[in-house]
């Protein structure tokens, strides 16, 4: 007795084509997927907020929307209105980007760039600097 099955071939090389198909067949689900993607990105950042110093750090800025980290919290200013909930910020960003994954890619690039700049501004506390210096000295001595 033998079994035979045919593997279904799924071409995911063009992820944008796949997303386009979802958008056309189920627009509501597509928008939900988009918002979830943005939300998850913001949530991942939020986990590290406690390590930020107090102050305001801008993640994204456009004419109508500013997303920033303010004293260890994420907030958005959209057309003068303060938006605080991560989900609402994700919805606002999604709407602004017209649920376009290509634009989301550009948005994320801008945020990554800004995060990179912010990290350079953050000066570690003296004890952390001392620890790193000690670690460095130890490593080069081992060598």
């Amino acid at each position: 007795m033998s079994y035979y099955y045919e593997e279904e071939e799924v071409d995911i090389t063009d992820i944008f084509q796949l997303l386009k198909t979802v958008e056309q067949t189920n627009p509501a689900q597509y928008r939900q997927l988009y918002i979830n993607t943005v939300y998850q990105f913001l949530y991942d950042i939020s986990v590290y907020l406690q390590y930020f110093p107090s102050g305001t750090f801008t993640l994204f800025e456009s004419d109508s929307l500013t997303v920033q980290i303010v004293n260890n919290g994420i907030q958005a200013i959209y057309n003068g209105q303060t938006v605080l909930g991560l989900l609402q910020i994700a919805q606002t960003i999604s709407s602004l980007l017209a649920y376009d994954f290509g634009l989301l890619n550009s948005f994320l690039s801008a945020v990554y760039y800004n995060l990179n700049q912010i990290v350079k501004q953050i000066v570690p506390p003296d004890n952390v600097k001392q620890y790193l210096q000690d670690l460095y000295n130890r490593l080069i001595n081992i060598g």
């Binding site: 939300y39 939020s46 907020l49 303010v70 909930g85 609402q88």
Partner: protein, 226 residues
């Protein structure tokens, strides 16, 4: 003590408060004298309340016996009733009675001022409105906050109403899909004005283990006897 039901229903809920104007000295429910009221608002950290201290005076030479005092506002609505276990005689001289209205003040688990918002205190707003008159905003937004103090979700509070013998209750079933899977979620009920950047927290509760659907209720207790 609680504020009167008529005041809660006719002024607090619609949102327009008239300043406290006069006091009625009463004996077994009958008005026997009229007094003036001076007010001062203070914060009492021991009871975590704003305290509206009332100095009720009757400088007339009238004499009477009273066992309760009703406070009325400029709209002639009963605001608060102070009842006493025993009766007191007013002689021909000046009568001065000190009473207090306590309005509890919550300290929310997150300091919204870090977002550049102006914090309004529920007790302070009501206390000042009772002194000077003014507008009161009831809660309109729920914030869901995780243990890392991240605001996960904010949704409009558009409650149903249920009135019992001693409280005005507002309740709503909420859904927060991003709250599920969290270690715990603080649900904060507040008046929030995103344009004016003002926030006034009126209640909060903690839901351990997160949730995707929950019932939210908040109550304004009132004194049904005045």
């Amino acid at each position: 003590m609680s504020l009167c039901r008529t005041w809660v229903e006719e002024e607090l809920i619609p949102g327009h408060i008239y300043p406290i104007a006069i006091a009625h000295f009463m004996y077994n429910g009958t008005v026997v004298g009229t007094g003036t009221v001076e007010m001062k608002l203070e914060y009492d950290s021991f009871s975590a309340s704003y305290v509206l201290n009332l100095t009720i005076s009757d400088a007339t030479t009238n004499t009477y016996v009273y066992n309760s005092i009703m406070i009325l506002d400029g709209n002639n609505v009963n605001v608060a009733l102070f009842t006493y276990a025993k009766s007191y005689n007013k002689g021909t001289g000046l009568l001065v009675v000190h009473e207090s209205i306590y309005i509890p003040q919550l300290t929310p688990p997150i300091n919204f001022s870090v977002f550049g918002l102006t914090i309004l205190n529920w007790g302070e707003v009501i206390g000042n409105a009772l002194i000077y008159g003014g507008t009161i905003n009831l809660p309109n937004t729920l914030f869901m906050i995780n243990e890392l103090a991240t605001i996960l979700d904010q949704i409009p509070f558009t409650p149903s109403v249920n009135i019992t013998a001693s409280a005005f209750n507002e309740y709503q079933t909420i859904t927060c899909n991003v709250c599920s899977g969290q270690v715990s979620v603080f649900v904060i009920l507040a008046y929030y004005n995103a344009t004016a950047k003002q926030i006034m927290v009126v209640g909060f509760q903690t839901i351990v283990g997160g949730f995707s659907s929950a019932n939210v209720q908040w109550s304004i207790p009132f004194n049904p006897n005045c």
